[in-house]
């Protein structure tokens, strides 16, 4: 098939969405050339600000327009990259083969709220916070609070199997969705609610497909009445294992806390905001320095110290020097952090009908005390709740200083959890500074959220280090029997681990791909390696081809 020229592409798509809802301007192409994948930030640090620009961006008005855009691209073998909020952290929306970015944010209606059945029907492009606001006004909550709620969309959540901070109570997004509507590249619309008992569950086959099968245009989701009461408590555990035992006891007793987070020793220092234990001053300062990078308020100890003094003037140069100092020797910093005699902090909270909250909080308290937890009052929990969206947005200062920071959220059953934690730390600590918390707890297991920061003197070397860290870390997770992603998805960043993760099950994906996307136009090169359709290298004179 003859490739379309850029002019033909623009003309064809303008006829569908209208010229005002299409852009080929440089700012737009730069803006849509990357999501929040830290590796793309490293590219930018190195001056490469638009490595993979799309040929154009379109903003269709409704499902019918989405269908026509997809059909057009399918007919002309043009790559399509579905785009929600662009808050993905795995490179899922990077147009590595050029083509058309289909931003669905104009599909933003709450179509219906069925009060009697506690079900909301909404379009996929709706911003997460807007959806929650609409539900709150009607007396409901979705119960889905990713840290990115203000900059992500319903469709993106479903496409990447997102988890909110209250997932232990309300589940992940795939537990909330009753059905969805998806448009496949030939324009066919599948409404997965049209399914009786029996037959494969298309909702769960589309959830997590990260734009590689079709574009999700809307969904029906379970909602919950706004909680009548909420109760947060914190516990301190001397050892991480005790905390994990307590967490498991709570979940396996059938309690459903809205939040249950257990911080490892260093993450506890940050979560507590203040380290009460006396420390040699240089160690304290070194830790304060790192802590200052992650916690919004900067170093919280008033004591002077070596690194503290270097951070003292708070000039960019000084901070950068401190960061270089700390992150150039990750093994030492990790050892210092591990040696800090900090207890492990756990935050546990319940919400719902008042009687139930009261009873559950009491039962959880008993179980946690039995596991060795010491009540630390409501303070740390309240603090967490008030600041729970802050941390992610503080990461940019590390990039400012030439370093990088990323997070890895993995999961395993309880029997493998500690082993996985130790294995990942072993793999990462020689390379980067790393800390972790255990959150998103379930009856049979839990997720671990690692945060790591590294530094090299230039972007090329940073990128090498970044790739190496991910490689050793995902290898460690797979060997320890865990899954490499609990909620961020795969995109480009974890693609290499997918063969180990799924083995021959990838045949199902290839079959799905061949059936619903025979031309391989949907988000090519993402999610799984060895796409069945070899994507061609981008060609500068013509638009990207799948």
């Amino acid at each position: 098939m003859a490739r379309l020229s850029q002019a033909e592409l623009i003309a064809g798509l303008s006829r569908i969405v209208g010229a005002e809802h299409l852009s080929t301007t440089r700012p737009d192409r730069i803006a849509y050339s990357a999501d929040f994948w830290p590796k793309a930030q490293i590219w930018k640090q190195g001056g490469d600000i638009e490595r993979y620009p799309p040929d154009c961006v379109v903003w269709p008005a409704d499902e019918a327009e989405v269908g026509k855009v997809l059909r057009f691209c399918h007919d002309h073998l043009i790559p399509i990259v579905p785009y929600g909020g662009g808050s993905g952290v795995c490179g899922g929306t990077i147009p590595i083969h050029g083509g058309v970015v289909v931003d669905v944010k104009r599909l933003s209606k709450v179509t219906a709220i069925d009060h009697a059945s506690a079900v909301v029907t909404a379009e996929a492009g709706i911003n997460g916070q807007h959806l929650e606001d609409r539900l709150n006004a009607a007396g409901f909550t979705l119960g889905h609070f990713p840290s990115s709620i203000m900059c992500s969309t319903l469709g993106g959540w479903l496409a990447a199997r997102s988890a909110g901070q209250f997932s232990s109570r309300y589940g992940k997004i795939e537990d909330m969705v009753l059905s969805l509507r998806v448009v496949f590249p030939d324009g066919t619309v599948l409404d997965t609610s049209e399914r009786g008992p029996g037959g494969p569950d298309w909702t769960q086959l589309v959830c997590g497909s990260e734009g590689t099968l079709g574009i999700i245009t809307g969904a029906e989701l379970k909602v919950n009445p706004l909680p009548e009461a909420r109760r947060l408590r914190a516990f301190r555990f001397r050892h991480l294992e005790d905390g994990l035992r307590g967490a498991r006891a709570v979940m396996q007793a059938g309690l459903r806390p809205m939040v249950l987070r257990l911080y490892d020793p260093f993450d506890s220092l940050i979560a507590l905001g203040k380290d009460k234990s006396p420390q040699p001053s240089d160690r304290q300062s070194l830790l304060d320095g790192i802590r200052g990078l992650f916690s919004g308020a900067g170093a919280t100890s008033e004591r002077e110290g070596l690194l503290r003094r270097r951070l003292g003037p708070l000039t960019h140069t000084a901070k950068r020097a401190a960061l270089v100092g700390a992150l150039s020797a990750p093994a030492i910093v990790n050892r210092l952090a591990a040696a800090a005699p900090s207890p492990c902090l756990m935050i546990v909270g319940f919400e719902g009908p008042a009687d139930a909250v009261h009873a559950d909080a009491w039962s959880a308290g008993e179980l946690l005390a039995e596991a060795g937890g010491v009540d630390a009052g409501a303070g740390p929990g309240e603090h967490w709740l008030a600041h729970r969206y802050d941390v992610s947005f503080k990461q940019s200062r590390i990039y400012d200083m030439g370093g990088f920071v990323d997070t890895m959220e993995v999961a395993a059953t309880w029997d493998r959890l500690e082993g996985m934690y130790a294995a990942v730390r072993r793999a990462m600590t020689p390379l980067v500074f790393v800390m972790a918390h255990f959150s998103h707890a379930y009856r049979e297991g839990c997720s671990i959220y690692f945060t790591f920061a590294g530094f090299r003197r230039d972007a090329a070397r940073s990128e090498q280090l970044y790739d190496r860290v991910w490689r050793v870390a995902t290898d460690a997770v797979v060997s320890a029997g865990g899954t490499v992603s609990h909620h961020h998805g795969v995109g480009l960043s974890k693609m290499n681990a997918m063969t180990q993760e799924h083995g021959h099950m990838l045949r199902v994906w290839r079959a799905l791909k061949d059936v619903v996307d025979p031309h391989g136009v949907m988000n090519p090169g993402k999610l799984f390696p060895e796409a069945p359709h070899k994507a061609a290298e981008p060609d500068s004179s013509t638009v990207g081809v799948a």
Binding site: G196, D201, Q204, L205, S209, P353, E444, V490, H502, V515
Partner: protein, 403 residues
Amino acid sequence: MISPHTKPTSYLDELRRIVPTEQIEPQIDTADDGGAWAVEPATQIELVEVLKWANGRHAAVFTRRPRRHDADLLGRRPRIYLRGRRMKRVKDLDIVSGTVTVQSGITMSELHRILEERSFTTGFPTRPWRQESIGSVLAAALDAHWGPRYGSMEDQVLSLGVVFPDGSVAGGRGAPRKAVGPDFDRLFLGSRGRYGIIYEATLRIYPSATRVAMSYAAPDLTTALEAVRGGIALGLDPRAIELLTPAPDRAWGRKRVGLTDDRPVLVIVEPWGPLAGRPVAWIDNHFATTLERLEPPLGWNMHEGLLPAPRAWAEPVVGVRWARLLELAQQLGRDVPPGLWVVRMSRHGGWLSLASGVDGPSAEIVRALVQELRPAGPLPWERFEDGLKRELDPKDILNPTGT
């Protein structure tokens, strides 16, 4: 090697090289078909080899019992009827994570017996599927009973091991929740062995407790529904809630549980038991306020004497939201038809069905709703599912199309 004229006797010789003779049982044969055998693989390797053989011979492999017309539809293709009963090992009982990994041929009753010895149970009902293998239960998505807390039957599955029609093997890793692409296991749950054979499953397990269902009688559907809705709003969160009216031919069962003409609607509520969930007294206080408590409390599965046996239940089942359930109750008033069944009730709705052989205006109202909520075919996914079958089983080996 592959000859269209190979005789059934040589097929048998070939099969004997894969599995020991005592694991092969010839089925009634006719002169002009390709031969049929029930084969009982004892290991995953044997299972894989049988499938590879079937691919070489263009045989048909079934995961169900023989049916009379199979031979007519398949002509001279040899037929294999797999039996799972030699693949029934409990491979791992992980009491730390609360999971069990079993080979798929184990029957429900055997699995529950083994778990019970360690004071555990599964999230599946025990009695209706006593003799079913876990593989067939999963493949047929028999998700009738489970309520808000255990979730649907699919939620009980942490991961599956599957043999594809060409003999390749895949098994996911068990993690509580994942974001590594679609949930591929869902293709095999409920698709009746169309795309692969489930050879192993990892399931969630729960501490066992004597399971008591509390039962109440309501004068009409509206009262029953309001009590259920109120209970859900209070966060009573029982393990299962079900509404039913006994089928017309179950007068004895109806009398046994204590339903009357004035209070014909049975509400069954199963609390979580002593180890978890709300105290039984909370639940009882709520339901006994507006409904009549039926004494003595009956064991779960009581509805077996009230409705046709589940395996005989051929009527369509549809998911109904609360809004429509309440409308239905209004329309019916006090005239609730017998044989009505609303299961897996949650905050959002339940699954509705009506037994066959029930007549009258109220039955018509229910049937009209069921009809309205049934998806009208042909639906796009049917086309995609046929496409998936062609991709994964190009030779149409496993549970062939149309049989």
